[in-house]
């Protein structure tokens, strides 16, 4: 927490500093009684000094004694009032600093006038104008005008208006002078004139012709999430955020418009123009905006754009006085859902049933079961709820950050530091997550022609784990038997006859696994406006990213306390023996990774007009990127002592080490041409000529174009009558071709690789380990890009003076040349390990809708936004085994579907079994598999293919923001439907416990009309070891994703702590979930969307979070 301390100190120091600077009116607010028949100013000042002890400072040339005053009588008035009354007429002003009141000759004040307008040129009535230096605010009149006088000096003017942004300008007021300035405010998100970050540039929202969605900082930060991705779910139409694990430090899986390829579906992430940066570990406060390119507009990223592009832009400084913002959030979190395990008595009953079905005798007598149930003999008949003993009710998380921004035209700065912490839900948890970020973003203008920018960000991410993985822990929690002990009455952790007692393996009693990642991301950019050619500029960009990762896994023997089941001491407690578990002796594995990426690019931009109506923007550039990774590991065991946890202290026997490296290189040329006719007809062409080391020399470069066009009907004369209702209407369409190069590199070469892993050696001469070299694959000399053909049509509508906005999109993506191996159609007798070939074809189509309304009702401002995304993919062609029956074919269905036996009920009794085709050996209480092909027997041909996968086909979000005077609130609902998961969990039966929901109402000889099967033992039953629909769960859900309610203190109150803005708020995430999915959170599901993957059943559950936040702006 040292870092947090530094931030705290910095914050406090900054606060002090500001307090000293501001007019902190303690002296002037003092009250006083004064009474004179006739006097002069000098006497009055002296008397005030005497009566109050307040110091006055003034010079003789004010000639105070010459200011004659008549009758003076003040009773309990502030000094400010007194001085105002007595001195103002004499052109003497005053100010207080550090308790001393200074008197000085007042200069003639200057006058400031101006207007606040919208980007469309409409006056904004009631806009607020704040002058921080004077701590004063003014409003604009019905024409948007403002006017005020001020003493000579430099001031910052901050204009703001509801649902429009904020703008700052600096002015200099001279004595008696006049300053006139206007503000043009941009409508915020969803509005027309928003500036949107696109590939290698920015565009006005109204001129965008592709499918581009954005998310602003405020929405991202509404969710009290450690990982900003969690705050993004449901916010952007077409973007699916899957959160398969809630473990501190875990990542999300992002999918743009679902999945499009059989291969890698990860979108390209570009942070501040640099590809392949990790954005989920950024400080969310540093993120200005997130743009998602969903269609051909991504073509400018060419060969890596096929899965869509996410552009993350960090904040920049704004001109003006330093603005300091401090944010602090303190939260508690807990799993959204924890399964309910069967209790000891139920478990004992089930085991008896299992033994009975196996033809063995009952293990537990009715008396035993009764004791488990009533807890009358807890030493011999314990009843342990493992979730309860190993988990806390709440764990904590907090974030703190401070940022300072400001500057002048030649140097604008945004500097921030932040820290984030998240604990796990285990008692005495060894798992925790900590992240520290620092960022310096500078930019400015060096001269009339030269602009520069530089971003440097450093972060350190600490992930601490116990030696067992989260999946082991959650599996152990789920399977640990309820009729074993967790702790003995005397407090020792119990030997529960299994390889890990959850109350111990969640702590650092077994050692630790500590992962530290340090990331440096730096970038410098320079833009030169070519003198003499209006609109022509050249930009150069250089970036260096370094990632260093250090992992230390220290495993030590650990201890449990065993009881022989009989011996009791005098006080009736079990006599225990301490036994070593886990690892025979301490062992240490250290791993180090180093990744470097250098990206250089240069581009030329030319804006010009031909005539008045033809506007062009032309950009072309080149980029090269080179990456290097290396890693090594070392391992030792046989530590004599565990006092020193370093490799040198380990024994020499059985030591092991390894290392590897790789390189990547990409070179490409790209460009964009925009043509805008009278803001009516919009055309865009983007392209990239992309070269990648992944492909053979001959097919190393690919050309990826994207075309789009828009027509703003509302600009046409014929639209005029409609304008009052529909003030903006645009239709647009795009087509593009992008690539996907995310395959194993070097598939064009025949290659051989050493088998990795310690077990992959062959031993000669008793103990000499020899390397083994394996054929990796045979070459595919013609391997090339996957090609994505993306078509999009959309429309954007603004109604009722842009209060109501509506967008709709339809897309059709056809991915061809998907790299896939022919392993299902090439006979195995070929012995080949096949390379990927460009054979697969997948189509994906869908639609997105977005609706927003912004309104006011009295002092209440509100906005409502909703979005819905639909998508469904279909395999058009891939390698499929010949001869598969039609109903089992995967071609024509979504990717990642699986085959299941269709469970159609439970066999009631022996007659029922005999009346229907059944699995050999089926008995009453077993699951009935449907005889799908009607051949009278149940075999592999009776499996059916379901078209659902782990990926939802419909997602959406609904958001309401409210603002009433200082209060604000937002509610965000998010949903996903159309996905399913396989809830089969193997380790049940004699090996582990059942879930209560799975066994309540199960089939027993006395409950033959059950809908749940009889007690089972692990995978022994045919309906356990064959994938079938009985275990499938729909994971549709609707959840209260985030909710926030807060208060902005009035400036009057804020100023008491010298702040401009003080905000407190309560927020929550995942507070309510409505779902049919049982026992585990519906988002706990396989990430790879393959429905047969049941690894998720051990996933760390998702968290619900309650947060208290404080945000101060100085």
């Amino acid at each position: 927490m040292r870092f947090t301390l530094i931030i705290t100190i910095a914050t406090v120091a900054a606060t002090q500093f500001l307090a000293a600077e501001t007019t902190y009116s303690q002296a002037l607010d003092k009250r006083i009684d004064l009474s004179y028949r006739e006097t002069d100013a000098h006497t009055v000042i002296r008397d005030i000094e005497r009566k109050t002890g307040i110091q006055f400072a003034y010079t003789d040339n004010l000639k105070l004694q010459d200011i004659r005053l008549g009758r003076v009588a003040f009773s309990n008035q502030t000094i400010r009032h007194v001085l105002d009354e007595l001195l103002t007429r004499s052109q003497i002003a005053f100010t207080e600093k550090s308790g001393t009141i200074t008197l000085y000759k007042a200069q003639q004040p200057g006058r400031v006038t101006g207007r606040v307008l919208s980007a469309q040129g409409e006056p904004l009535a009631g806009a607020s104008l704040h002058i921080p230096e004077l701590d004063r605010s003014y409003g604009t009149d019905s024409e948007g005008n403002f006017s005020f006088t001020a003493q000579p000096g430099s001031y910052t003017l901050v204009a703001s208006y509801v649902s429009y942004g904020t703008q700052r300008q600096s002015i200099l007021v001279e004595a008696g002078g006049q300053v006139s300035l206007d503000f043009v405010l941009q409508l915020e998100e969803g509005a027309l004139s928003e500036v949107v970050v696109v590939g290698y540039g920015t565009q006005q929202r109204e001129e965008i012709t592709g499918s581009v969605s954005t998310l602003k900082n405020e929405k991202l930060n509404a969710a009290p999430a450690i990982n900003p991705a969690n705050g993004m779910a449901g916010r952007i139409p077409g973007l699916v955020v899957l959160t398969p694990s809630g473990e501190p430090g875990s990542n999300s899986t992002l999918r743009i418009r679902g999945e499009n390829t059989l291969g890698n579906n990860a979108p390209l992430v570009v942070v501040d123009g640099i590809a392949s940066r990790e954005w989920e570990r950024l400080n969310p406060q540093d993120i200005e905006s997130i743009t998602v390119l969903k269609d051909a507009s991504a073509a400018i990223y060419g060969a890596r754009a096929a899965n869509g592009v996410i552009l993350v832009t960090t904040k920049k400084g704004t001109t003006g006085a330093p603005r300091i913002q401090v944010n602090y959030n303190e939260a508690i979190s807990a799993p959204t859902m924890i399964p309910e395990a069967a209790d000891a008595a139920t478990y004992a009953e089930l085991i008896n049933e299992v033994l009975e079905y196996e033809g063995a005798e009952h293990l537990y007598s009715p008396e035993d079961i009764q004791k488990y149930r009533d807890g009358s003999d807890p030493i011999n008949f314990p009843n342990t709820d493992w979730y309860d003993v190993a988990l806390k009710n709440w764990s904590s998380q907090r974030t703190a950050d401070v940022n300072i921004s400001g500057g002048q035209e030649h140097l604008r700065y945004y500097v921030s530091a932040g820290t984030r912490f998240q604990d796990a839900i285990y008692k005495n948890s060894a798992t925790s997550y900590q992240q520290h970020n620092m960022r310096v973003n500078l930019d400015g203008k060096l001269s009339k022609y030269v602009r520069y920018g530089t971003n440097v960000a450093v972060r350190e991410v600490h992930r601490d784990y116990p030696t067992e993985s989260a999946s082991t822990i959650w599996s152990q929690l789920r399977r640990s038997k309820p009729n074993t002990w967790s702790y003995w009455p005397t407090g020792e952790p119990a030997d529960n006859g299994d390889s890990g007692n959850p109350v111990v393996i969640t702590t650092n009693q077994t050692g630790y696994d500590r992962n530290k990642t340090t990331v440096l991301e730096s970038m410098a950019t320079m833009t030169i406006d070519i003198p003499g050619v209006e609109g022509l500029s050249v930009t150069g960009n250089a970036a260096l990213d370094l990632t260093m990762q250090n992992d230390k896994l220290w495993k030590t023997p650990w201890y449990l306390y065993a009881w022989d089941g009989e011996a009791l001491d005098a006080s009736g407690n079990p006599v225990l023996s301490r036994v070593q578990r886990g690892y025979t002796n301490a062992e240490l594995t250290q791993e180090f990774d180093d990744t470097r990426l250098v990206t250089l690019n240069a581009r030329v931009n030319y804006d010009f007009e031909l005539g008045r109506a033809h506007k062009f923007n032309v950009m072309a550039g080149a980029e090269r990127a080179r990456g290097e990774t290396m890693d090594f590991m070392a391992y030792r065991r046989h530590f004599v002592s565990t006092a020193i946890e370093q490799l040198f202290a380990g024994g020499d026997a059985d030591q092991n080490n390894g290392g590897s490296a790789s390189q990547e290189a990409r070179l490409n040329y790209f460009g964009r041409v925009n043509y805008n006719f009278d803001s009516k007809y919009l055309l865009e062409f983007v392209w990239r000529y992309d070269g990648s080391y992944i492909f053979p020399e001959a097919s190393r470069f690919g050309f990826f174009p994207g075309f789009s066009a828009g027509w703003r009907l509302s600009e046409e004369p014929f639209w005029k009558p409609l304008l009052p209702v529909i003030n903006d209407f645009k239709i647009r369409g795009s087509w593009g071709r992008t690539g996907n190069d995310r395959i194993n590199p070097y598939q064009f070469l025949s290659s051989y690789a050493y088998a990795t892993g310690a077990t992959n050696v062959y031993i000669f001469n008793q103990n000499e380990a020899a390397k083994i070299l394996q054929e990796s694959r045979i070459a595919n000399p013609s391997v090339t890009w996957e090609v994505a053909n993306q078509t999009n049509i959309g429309m954007d509508m603004h109604l009722l003076k842009s209060k109501l906005t509506f967008s709709a999109e339809y897309f059709y993506n056809l991915r061809t040349d998907i790299l896939w191996s022919r392993s299902l159609s090439v006979p195995q007798s070929s012995g080949l390990t096949l390379p990927d070939e460009n054979i697969g074809e997948v189509e994906n189509r869908g639609a997105e809708f977005q609706l927003g309304y912004q309104g006011t009702a009295g002092a209440l401002d509100y906005s409502i936004a909703a979005n819905v995304s639909l998508n469904k993919n279909r395999i058009r062609f891939w390698d499929e085994t010949p001869g598969v029956p039609d109903y089992q074919r995967s071609t024509g269905l979504p990717m990642n579907t699986a085959l299941y036996y269709n469970a159609i009920g439970i066999f009631r009794d022996e007659d029922h079994v005999n009346s229907y085709p059944h699995w050999e050996g089926a008995r009453p209480g077993d699951v009935i598999f449907e005889d799908v092909n009607g051949d009278g027997e149940i075999n592999a041909l009776d499996r059916i293919r379901l078209d659902k996968t782990g990926l939802p086909t419909q997602t959406g979000g609904f958001n309401v923001d409210l603002r009433y005077k200082g209060f604000f609130a937002s509610v965000f609902l998010q949903w996903a439907t159309g996905a399913m998961r396989n809830s089969y969990y193997e380790q049940q039966g004699q090996i582990g416990n059942y879930l209560a929901s799975e066994v309540e109402g199960r089939w027993t000889p006395t409950n033959i009309d059950a809908s749940k099967p009889r007690a089972w033992n692990r995978y022994n039953e045919y309906w356990r070891n064959n994938a079938n629909t009985y275990w499938l769960q729909q994971t549709d859900y609707l959840r209260l994703k985030t909710v926030q309610i807060g208060y902005n203190f009035p400036a009057r109150l804020a100023s008491r702590i010298a702040a401009k803005d003080v905000q407190v708020f309560l927020s929550g995430m995942n507070l309510l979930t409505f779902t049919g999915a049982k026992d585990l959170d519906p988002e706990n599901a396989p990430t790879n969307a393959a429905s047969n993957n049941t690894g998720w059943t051990n996933a760390y559950p998702l968290n619900k979070v309650f947060n208290l936040g404080l945000s101060l702006t100085f």
Partner: protein, 599 residues
């Protein structure tokens, strides 16, 4: 900023672009994880590592801890539905249950291994061998011989399981026609034998130093002995199973020259014996020797005089047999548990068969059995290694507990049952307990705490005892009974048993039982049952031991258990299971393939 700087900045920007000009080089960073074709085949040292991979791909059960023992009448894999299906001949085009544990012994796995060999031969001309002579053979000869041997070994398994298979001797390229038809059984055997002969020619009799563990001439001859013995067996001679099939030549010889084949098998075994390089380990037990200990040593020692071809292990290879096979009371996983029917096959110490109808045998079935019983099986009451710390309180005596103890509870005045720590109702990992009342003892190194450590016992692909038995089997078939008895009695003598005088059918049955016991858990029984065509005998309802310590009249618990063998699980046989099914998918991919009968 001075305007004069602008040209410099422009230069900088342009230089950035310029540096990208040498595309080809820039975009061709070398692969740092893999070797290219040229690198490998121009370096004999790398070629050797490629051959090492072929050794690595040879099947043995110790690595994965589960052998074919569980799917023949040797062992039982607790609660494994797939093994149960296999044991009931539920093999089909769609499933080959329980076969995934036989690493690399699948249709595709064996063809991958064969491809590796074929690649070597296709590149043979390119390899710049050093010509260095070690152990009397040049590196070219030695490596070529090794790959001939390995190709023969892979094909041996393939043909044994499937019958005649596509004879692929060239590596395929991506655009080749992959549809190759099955060769006849006779052609496959001829090919394998010729590979063995080539290998025997090229390989040294002994490898020294770092080459120890590579195939020798003896290994090639021993493989040939096994191949020819299998080929001469009932399954591959005209028989009712094969004759009903449309293409019997794929599964068996169609001629009646069986005597020739037995003669070839006899000669092949004799060739190994005549090398005079191998002998039984402790062939004549010395006075005072524990014979069981002698037998155990064979499997726990790295090198013995009996070894013909072995695979060594070291710690990091993660050999699982010890963990998987040990009793749950030692935190083992109770796999490969001997079934009661297999236990009954062990003779009495005097060489007479065990018999439940003999009251003396039945009263104490674990007494006075032949030494191989004690070396192979852990039974209730067997003295074994020290218990893990937390189990020492339950079993301070370190004796296997697979029984139930009837006890009297004075407090409640009632009888109750306490379960041994190695049963399925044990307090220690009961789900890993054996159902059969027995655990396998063979290959378990008692010095290793399997809960934490991997054991490193050596696997023997071929040992001399097998060759003696192969020889005996061929001699019996040829009517050379004295010669057969001589070989069998060598094995019996080492096992502490008196010589046999049997002849005729009795000798044959005695031989088969001898082979079953001597080579138990060594991946022989599964294949022997098939080639002898005794499926119905081996796959029938099995029995397990029920061990009860009864309550004495004085309400103390008896210290002598009552042991019975009771019926447990139904196993059944279908003749189709003599050969494996070719998968439906593979048939669809290669229309020239013909399915085996019954599928």
């Amino acid at each position: 900023m001075n305007r004069n700087n602008i040209p410099w900045i422009l230069t900088f920007v342009l230089a950035t672009v310029m540096t990208t000009s040498c595309n080809t080089e820039f975009l061709s960073p070398p692969s740092e994880g893999e070797f290219t074709d040229e690198t490998v085949w121009s370096d004999p040292a790398l070629v050797e590592t490629f051959i090492n991979n072929m050794y690595f791909r040879l099947y043995e059960p110790l690595t994965d801890g589960r052998g074919t023992a569980n799917i023949v009448d040797e062992g039982h894999y607790r609660g494994n539905a797939a093994s149960f299906q296999f044991n009931n001949s539920q093999l089909s085009q769609d499933q080959l249950p329980a076969w995934s544990y036989q690493r690399n012994l699948t249709w595709s796995g064996m063809f991958t291994s064969i491809r590796n060999c074929n690649i070597f031969f296709s590149k043979l001309e390119e390899i710049p061998f050093t010509g260095e002579v070690v152990d009397g053979k040049s590196d070219a000869d030695r490596m070529t011989g090794e790959v001939h041997f390995l190709r023969a070994f892979f094909y041996h398994y393939l043909v044994t399981l499937y019958g005649g298979a596509p004879l692929v001797t060239e590596p395929f390229e991506l655009d080749d026609d992959f549809a190759v038809e099955r060769a006849s059984y006779a052609d496959c055997i001829a090919f394998i034998v010729s590979e063995c002969d080539k290998a025997a020619e090229l390989l040294p009799e002994v490898h020294t130093g770092s080459n120890a563990g590579r195939a020798t001439k003896g290994a090639a001859l021993a493989l040939k002995s096994r191949v020819l013995l299998y080929a001469a067996s009932d399954l591959h001679s005209p028989n009712t199973v094969v004759s009903g099939f449309s293409q019997p030549e794929l599964l068996a010889y169609t001629d009646n020259n069986r005597r020739e084949r037995w003669q070839a098998a006899r000669d092949a075994a004799k060739a190994v014996i005549d090398l005079n390089r191998y002998s039984l380990h402790k062939a004549t037990p010395a006075a005072g020797d524990s014979v069981a200990q002698n037998l155990t040593e064979i499997f726990l020692t790295n090198n013995t005089q009996e070894d013909i071809f072995v695979k060594y292990f070291i710690q990091v290879m993660g050999q699982r047999w010890g963990l998987y096979t040990s009793p749950n009371g030692y935190y083992g996983w109770g796999v490969n548990a001997p079934i009661a029917d297999f236990v009954d096959a062990f003779q009495m110490a005097d060489g007479t068969p065990f018999d439940w109808n003999n009251p003396r045998h039945a009263a104490d079935p674990y007494a006075n059995r032949e030494p191989r019983f004690y070396a192979t099986v852990l039974y209730n009451g067997a003295q074994w290694r020290q218990r893990p710390a937390d189990v020492q309180g339950i079993d301070p005596l370190n004796r296997i507990q697979t029984g139930v103890y009837r006890r009297w509870n004075a407090a409640t005045n009632s009888e109750y049952e306490a379960y041994g720590v190695d049963t399925r109702n044990s307090p220690i990992e009961n789900w890993n307990g054996s159902y059969t009342g027995y655990y396998c003892r063979k290959y378990i190194d008692p010095a290793v705490n399997v809960q934490y450590e991997n054991q490193t016992v050596t696997w023997r692909f071929f040992r001399y005892a097998e060759i003696l038995l192969n020889y005996a089997e061929a001699c019996i078939a040829l009517g050379e009974e004295a010669e057969a008895r001589n070989a069998i009695n060598q094995v019996r003598a080492r096992a502490g048993l008196p010589p046999t005088e049997a002849s005729g059918e009795t000798l044959l049955q005695l031989y088969r039982n001898e082979r079953r016991i001597e080579l138990a858990f060594e991946e022989h029984r599964f294949f022997d049952v098939r080639r002898w065509m005794i499926g119905p005998e081996a796959y029938k309802p099995i029995h397990v031991a029920r061990v009860v310590y009864p309550l004495n009249p004085d309400r103390t618990t008896s210290s002598t258990p009552v042991v019975t063998h009771v019926p447990f699980e139904d196993h059944s046989w279908d003749d189709k299971a003599y050969f494996f099914p070719i998968s439906r998918d593979e048939l669809n991919k290669n229309e020239r393939l013909v399915q085996n009968p019954g599928y």
